[in-house]
Amino acid sequence: MAVDEPTAHAARPDPAGPGARRRRRRPGGGRAPGDPRNIGWLYVLPGLAVYLLFTLAPLLHTVYYSLFDWDGLTGKTWVGLSNYGEALRDEVLRDSFVHSAILIVYYAVFPVIIGLLLTAALTRTVIRGFRFFRTALFLPQLIAGVVIAQAWTWIYATDGPLNRALELVGLGSLVRPWLGDFTWALPSIGAIGSWVTFGLCMVLFIAGVQKIPTSLYDAARVDGAGPVREFFAVTLPGLRDEILVAFVLTTINALRSFDIVYNTTAGGPGGETLVPSMYMYQNAFLYNRVGYAAAIATVLAVTIFLLAAIVLRVGSRGERT
């Protein structure tokens, strides 16, 4: 296929790009201007210090706390790994991870698909007010989670706009208290997540598309590719890196989601929307079990780390070198 080869070529990062050509490496020894020097460490020192102090240190601290039975206020008792043993046996925690897995579909899979469709639509045709749409669709990303949760609680209310709209189009039988319904509460929260994250995916993809050389599109058209073929042969492979980044970011978002759950259902009804971060909060701040909460936090962090690694590994498989 004519378009196949250049596509994979374009997907490769920097070295093949036009910018890379300027930097010429001298063969054998010697340091070219721009190569790393020790002073580099000094440049990163401020950032590194902040990272160590505010990210790495608290992280290690959390792992440390997870080895104790501690109410957060009075004396700690060393319990070794027994908090982790409890976490493995805890059915509530297991359920909360299942809920998170469902949320990933809403937070990651749907937004990426919607983002791709929008990107295809926005880049192929010239749309008046393109900038306005791009900004408007990205807006949910910029709104605080609490505000989003309040707005959607209102939208989902029994006499809220969603149910009103359903009644108007003759779907009155579907009317329900969305966030209070055992079956629909979790998908309803998921839909909020999709709404929040698809703008981020879209902006990433639109930026990525601009990086794909127009010659590829021209070649595709010369070969007689229609819009669908063009999308799958040129746009999609060209966006591989962006899609990976979008998946990683949104999956992390899904697993960490707390503010929206806390402010819409607080884990209810009957624990149907309980997610690990909410359960961690309950243990730390309501049940006075900081040690166990720290263990949940650690398990959650490891899960996120592994998932991100898997996404990256799977995503970069098949990439030509």
């Binding site: 020192l45 029994t158 208290p177 209070g180 079990r289």
Partner: protein, 444 residues
């Protein structure tokens, strides 16, 4: 080169620190003495305007003292107050919550001080009946509830009662001045109302979004099947107490039956507690079963003449009961520099005539048993009478969620499952008892 960069970095850090230090100093200098109070009595109409007005009065009579009263919702206050107090920059005086989740924690971690000295100084012992003080007593290790020194003091009486829409009852052909005086009669009335009302209108307007709606509502049912002292003993962890008794299981079955029969609005899990009171005040439902601290919301909406107030009537035993007790316990921080001033403020907002007048004006029942409601306010007289009926029968059940740190969530989930038909009454009773026993072991 290197050292210069490093120098800049250090300088930057020093400047940042200086700014941070300056900012925190500036905050403290604003007034000679600032007392910070935290409260979740954020209902307006309700206690919020009372506390705000009394704090202004207090500032006037104490020049140089600034009262900074911060209102939070219940869940976020109890979720943050232990760590705020421990940090040293938390409130000087704060509400906690009776029970093992909050107060036991504050006592055990020595974050609040016993009020023994002030009980004596201000003669607070005359405020409540001796048995009522149990909810403020803890042994200093935070393990035994109901005995030991007094650590808190409350402003108002709290009673979960049934409010009813008299106009609507009349429209449905029921005489609102002859309400049933037994639980069986009350149960029959609800069934009768269900048959008469249109399908989409609830008999009981209810909001359970926060999770305490059904904890409160169930008290009226449980009290008809179980003795009040049995419920209180269970909360106080008296050895051998049980939740999964035949009486409680039958009471849970009754609640489930009410749910199945469609007595409640079907969006109860998505509707807030106070919001459901507002809905009732707008004319939704015939009953609202909830805290009398929301009585002004209801009066404002329906008009005093159209509202009746009564506790859910008693079962065969004949004693009036309800979930209730006293409002959130006020504590003095162990880290405050001004404990005496804090106690003086508490004494003012709880015992002064001015405080009582303001509380009554917001339809709140002062906890001080000597307080007399003003004449010429029949609505307030009803609210007050409902509280007295229960208090005089020693029927305040307290709140079942006090019984363990996780009991609130357990009850919240179990009630939602029960009402959705996903849990049996016996299954719920067992799950609740399991939570209780798991925690009970840590107390022995």
């Amino acid at each position: 080169m290197k050292s210069r960069l490093f120098g800049i970095f250090v300088l930057g850090a020093v400047v940042l620190l200086a700014i941070a230090a300056g900012a925190s100093n500036a905050g403290k200098k604003a007034s000679p003495i600032t007392l910070t109070m935290w409260s979740y009595d954020n209902q307006d109409p309700g206690l919020q305007p009372v506390l705000q007005q009394l704090s202004k009065d207090f500032e006037k009579s104490h020049p140089g003292v600034k009262i900074n009263i911060v209102f939070k919702d219940f869940n976020s206050l109890v979720g943050t107050v232990p760590r705020a107090l421990a940090s040293g920059s938390g409130p000087d005086v704060t509400e906690g919550n009776q029970g093992y989740q909050t107060d036991a924690q504050l006592v055990k971690a020595k974050l609040i001080i016993p009020l023994t000295k002030y009980v004596k100084k201000y003669r607070w012992d005359r405020l409540y009946a001796p048995s009522t003080w149990g909810m403020f007593r803890w042994t200093p290790d935070g393990k035994s509830f109901g005995k030991g020194p007094v650590w808190g003091i409350s402003q108002t009486g709290q009673n979960v009662v049934a409010f009813y829409n008299k106009r609507k009852l009349r429209q449905l052909g029921i005489n609102p001045n002859k309400m049933p005086q037994t639980f069986a009669g009350f149960d029959r009335l609800l069934a009768q109302l269900r048959a008469k009302l249109p399908d989409d209108e609830p008999v009981i307007a209810h909001g359970n979004k926060e999770g305490y709606g059904f904890i409160h509502l169930f008290g009226g049912i449980q009290g008809a099947y179980v003795k009040a002292q049995t419920v209180r003993n269970w909360i106080y962890h008296v050895p051998g107490s049980r939740y999964d008794t035949p009486g409680t299981i039958r009471a849970l079955g009754k609640l489930q039956q009410w749910g199945k029969a469609g007595y409640f609005n079907d969006d109860y899990n998505a509707l807030g507690y106070d919001a459901s009171a507002t809905e009732f005040a707008k004319g939704k439902g015939v009953f609202w079963i909830g805290g009398d601290w929301d009585s002004t919301i209801i009066k404002t909406g329906l008009g005093a003449a159209n509202v009746g107030v009564m506790p859910v009537p008693p079962g065969p035993g004949g004693s009036w009961t309800s979930i209730g007790g006293l409002s959130g316990p006020w504590h003095i921080s162990a880290k405050t520099k001004y404990p005496d001033l804090g106690a003086e403020w508490l004494n003012y907002v709880i015992t002064s005539q001015r405080a009582k007048t303001l509380m009554f004006s917001q339809q709140q029942i002062p906890a001080d048993r000597r307080a007399k409601p003003p004449a010429g306010d029949p609505y307030l007289a009803q609210v007050s009478k409902a509280f007295r009926l229960v208090a005089d029968d020693d029927g305040l059940l307290l709140y079942t969620d006090w019984a363990s740190p996780s009991m609130y969530t357990t009850l919240q989930n179990q009630f939602q499952l029960l009402l959705a038909g996903r849990q049996t009454p016996a299954g719920m009773a067992k799950a609740v008892q399991d939570d209780w026993e798991k925690f009970d072991k840590t107390l022995r």
